[in-house]
């Protein structure tokens, strides 16, 4: 009986959050929300951490690197994530693909260590980038046992490949009573991935698939926050579909976490979707040089959801080592 009461109150609470959230005029960017203030007003903060295109960069760049001397490194990223987890209750850690290829770690071990370390950092999910095909689909399948997080994609049809049944189209996470729907999109393979590597993978229209996934997550699953993991690229001279175009054509998506183009955005940029509502687009360069962070605040009484995002540069100074 008491359990039922609990569920009832949780559900009505969530409905209330949802109603208030989507009637808001838009997403308001702000930052450094004091946790005490949250407690006072019974607000819920969801902290999204994201990476993209880490490309097997496990060690920091060496000090003599021409472009990124001393930057990045998984040990530092792990420490930073651990610290954020100790400060925030509701953390979701996501990657946007191209985990593989870029250092001898991949040439020698095929991505085993990348997946192991991401599992240790407790990644919640990743999507699949074009370079994750670089050892063929068999090469990807071989490494999957080292990943304890799901691979989310809704526009690669792997049914006639060794990856069949090894990805999911979307996943719902429940954090602090907030229902978060996450779906993933991959980039077109033609001219990018050798047919020998992608085999019988079918590439499906990302705009159409995104619309279906976001509609499902919002209206059928009643998610409060909808996240798209997109390896389409930030922008591409208007020739190919990209995150900016997707954002403008979309409905129901709150934020696109992007990758592929290695674009360094200091904070998420705001675009208007096809309903005139705000949608954020984020991307944090490549090689694990930065960790992206976006906080979403949900308030039960007001008609507001707010968000704040920035990217944290991973450098020697960011960790005592």
């Amino acid at each position: 009986m008491s359990q039922l009461m609990g569920e009832l109150s949780m559900n009505s609470r969530r409905d209330f959050i949802k109603k208030t959230l989507y009637s808001s005029a838009g997403i308001i960017a702000f930052s450094a929300i004091p946790n005490e203030a949250l407690a006072k007003t019974e607000m819920v903060k969801i902290t999204i951490l994201h990476t993209n295109d880490v490309h097997s960069h496990i060690d920091p760049f060496p000090d003599n690197d021409p472009k990124y001397p001393g930057l990045g490194g998984i040990v530092r990223r792990a420490a930073l994530i651990k610290k954020i987890r100790s400060e925030e209750k509701n953390v979701l850690l996501l990657d946007v693909g191209d985990i593989f290829q870029g250092t001898p770690y991949f040439n020698m071990y095929g991505g085993e260590l990348e997946f192991k370390l991401m599992s240790m950092m407790q990644y919640d999910a990743s999507t699949i980038g074009n370079h994750d095909f670089d050892n063929g689909l068999d090469g990807l399948v071989k490494q999957l046992p080292h990943a304890n997080f799901p691979f989310i994609t809704c526009n690669y049809d792997f049914s006639d490949t060794p990856m069949a049944g090894k990805t999911i189209p979307h996943k719902i996470f429940l954090k602090g009573d907030i229902k978060i729907g996450v779906f993933g999109l991959g980039v077109g393979l033609e001219g990018l991935v050798d047919k020998k590597l992608s085999g019988n993978t079918l590439y499906l229209d990302p705009v159409k698939r995104a619309a279906e996934a976001a509609f499902h997550l919002k209206h059928e699953e009643k998610c409060d926050l909808i996240i798209c993991l997109s390896h389409l690229g930030y922008s591409s001279n208007g020739k190919k579909i990209n995150d900016v175009e997707l954002a403008k054509q979309s409905k129901n998506i709150d934020i696109i976490l992007g990758g592929h183009t290695h674009t360094f955005l200091d904070k998420p940029l705001t675009y208007q979707n096809s309903d005139g509502k705000d949608i954020l687009v984020a991307q944090v360069g490549w090689a694990g040089i930065r960790l992206g962070r976006v906080d979403f605040i949900f308030e039960k009484r007001s008609k507001k959801m707010a968000s704040e995002g920035y990217s944290i540069k991973i450098s020697k100074k960011s960790i005592a080592i």
């Binding site: 930052s31 690197d65 001898p104 071990y109 904070k267 009484r301 007001s302 507001k304």
Partner: protein, 255 residues
């Protein structure tokens, strides 16, 4: 885009929450500042990660820390021409011709690669095997395509239109997006000849939409990785007692 290496933007705002619970909270911007990740904010390293990486790293370091050659300056990527693009395409052209023994005895004329395929840059000083792996991480192999003069011309038109690409064996002068002079191996481009181009199997198979590579007269394979060609070239230079001294030589000029 990285405005300050040690700082990250932290835009400080506060929630001005009205004392009465019935009032709607307002989000109010107060101030913005930069916060340094200083000794108070530095998180300690998690030793479990170091422990997890070490066995892999120590094994890798055995081979990857090997110094192949010394470079007098940084070798950097860029368009329309870069020292890295010149260096890699020169190396691949040289090593292709070292190994290529065709029945017609005609050597390869040109090397064409793609800028996106150069994944790292080379530091000044010691260049390690690891540097070569990061520059060319892919397992792509060298292929030699024999092209008609028409397709060879299309190749250079594409290079000029796309603001350059790493190539060797030719010089191009362009006005706007139009070629005004094209020399291959020091000779004027001859529309009656055929030309041989060394490239990667990835590009030959349609990667980066190099459409002029479609339906060549002939395809030869060397079973030789691009990365191995670069590494072998570096070792060769070092054996000769040479350091790398790569500068842009003006093989593509936009007037």
């Amino acid at each position: 885009m990285l405005k300050s290496p040690l700082l990250y933007n932290l835009f400080l705002f506060v929630l001005a929450v009205a004392s009465s619970c019935s009032t709607t909270p307002k989000l109010k911007k107060v101030d913005s500042t930069l916060l340094e990740l200083n000794s108070q904010t530095i998180p300690p390293a998690d030793s479990s990660f170091i422990k997890a990486i070490n066995p892999y790293k120590s094994e890798l370091d055995k081979t990857m820390n090997e110094v192949l050659v010394f470079s007098k300056q940084q070798i950097l990527k860029g368009l329309p021409e870069s020292s890295l693009g010149d260096f890699v395409s020169d190396a691949v052209l040289k090593k292709t011709n070292d190994l290529y023994k065709p029945s017609d005895h005609l050597p390869v004329n040109i090397c064409l690669l793609n800028n996106g395929g150069l994944r790292g840059q080379l530091p000044k000083g010691n260049i390690t095997r690891g540097n070569a792996f990061e520059l060319m991480p892919f397992e792509n192999s060298i292929v030699i395509l024999t092209l008609t003069a028409e397709k060879t011309k299309q190749l250079f038109e594409y290079v000029v239109e796309s603001n350059g690409a790493p190539f060797a064996g030719a010089t191009v002068k362009a006005k706007g997006k139009k070629i005004i002079e094209l020399k291959i191996n020091g000779q004027n481009f001859d529309p009656t000849k055929i030309y041989k181009v060394t490239t990667s199997d990835y590009l030959a198979a349609g990667g980066d939409k190099y459409n002029f590579f479609k339906d060549p007269i002939k395809i030869d394979t060397l079973n030789y990785k691009l990365r191995d060609a670069i590494i072998d070239y570096m070792i060769e230079q070092n054996k000769k007692g040479d350091s790398l001294n790569v500068t842009i030589d003006g093989r593509i000029i936009y007037e």
